[in-house]
């Protein structure tokens, strides 16, 4: 009962945040509302008894990534004048919704078709750091390894694209 209420609250919050991201003209506000969404998602993860992910969501997403975004927005110090004058945005959104509807209905249809949708009681330690770690390092070693390469590439790439460069060697 309490769980339902929580779920409902988080769900509403997250959707609202998403809609806010959609509607606010200034990216700053958008980022803020996205943070709201992420935090509420973290709450939902907790409800799904995914403890580690709950933590990671808060730390990585809401913490690291979003703060990075906010930092860049401030760094570029964007004025109202810099923002695109998105005229006819409503029109676009209306058309967008019309285009989205089939996709949404398709996905909903899929989701509806899931059997045994009632959440069952899970044993203790589900989603805990230890358990997830075990799974990670037993079954999912390879992805874990190659993610390092991915991050390396992102690192170097960011430096190359945005950082200083010694031209013409």
């Amino acid at each position: 009962m309490f769980a339902e209420a929580l779920f409902f609250g988080f769900a509403v919050l997250s959707v609202l945040g998403a809609i806010g991201l959609l509607l606010f003209r200034h990216p700053m506000n958008g980022a803020m509302s996205l943070v709201v969404t992420m935090i509420s998602l973290a709450g939902l993860y907790a409800l799904l008894s995914a403890k580690l992910i709950f933590a990671l969501q808060l730390i990585v997403y809401a913490g690291a990534i979003m703060s990075l975004v906010l930092f860049i927005i401030m760094f570029l110090n964007i004025q109202e004048s810099d923002l695109p004058a998105e005229k006819g945005r409503w029109l676009y959104q209306l058309g967008g919704i019309i285009v989205i509807i089939p996709i949404a209905s398709f996905l909903i249809k899929i989701v509806k078709s899931i059997p045994g949708s009632q959440a069952t009681i899970v044993g203790s330690g589900f989603g805990g750091v230890k358990e997830v770690g075990l799974v990670l390092f037993q079954d999912w070693l390879l992805p874990f390894e190659i993610v390092s390469i991915l991050l390396l590439v992102a690192l170097v790439g960011a430096v190359v694209l945005a950082g200083k460069r010694r031209m013409g060697k």
Partner: protein, 98 residues
């Protein structure tokens, strides 16, 4: 019950798509994509809850890592664009066409 989570993820996912195709602000677009990834994550977690298997958590972690990497690069690109034109409008970058 789990279905509600999934439906929520679907809704968020579609809102993300909507953001991508309706906004011209580079930041908003990137954040919409992040939103889509989050929706996917929610689905992962919900499914792993459904299957009683923790693979979904790992997958979600991987997706987070990828999201972080993409975000880093995306912001670098934003800075690059801002150096060229101090605006963040995607429509002003349309030299290549036809």
């Amino acid at each position: 019950m789990i279905q509600d989570y999934l439906i929520l993820s679907v809704i968020l996912f579609c809102l993300g798509i909507l953001g991508v195709i309706t906004r011209r602000n580079v930041f908003s677009v990137f954040m919409s994509i992040e939103l889509m990834l989050n929706a996917a994550n929610l689905a992962f977690i919900a499914f792993s809850r459904l299957h009683e298997s923790m693979d979904g958590h790992v997958l979600a972690m991987m997706v987070m890592a990828v999201a972080a990497a993409e975000a880093a690069l995306a912001l670098a690109v934003v800075i690059l664009l801002h150096k060229h034109k101090s605006k963040l409008d995607t429509n002003i970058f349309s030299l290549l066409k036809g």
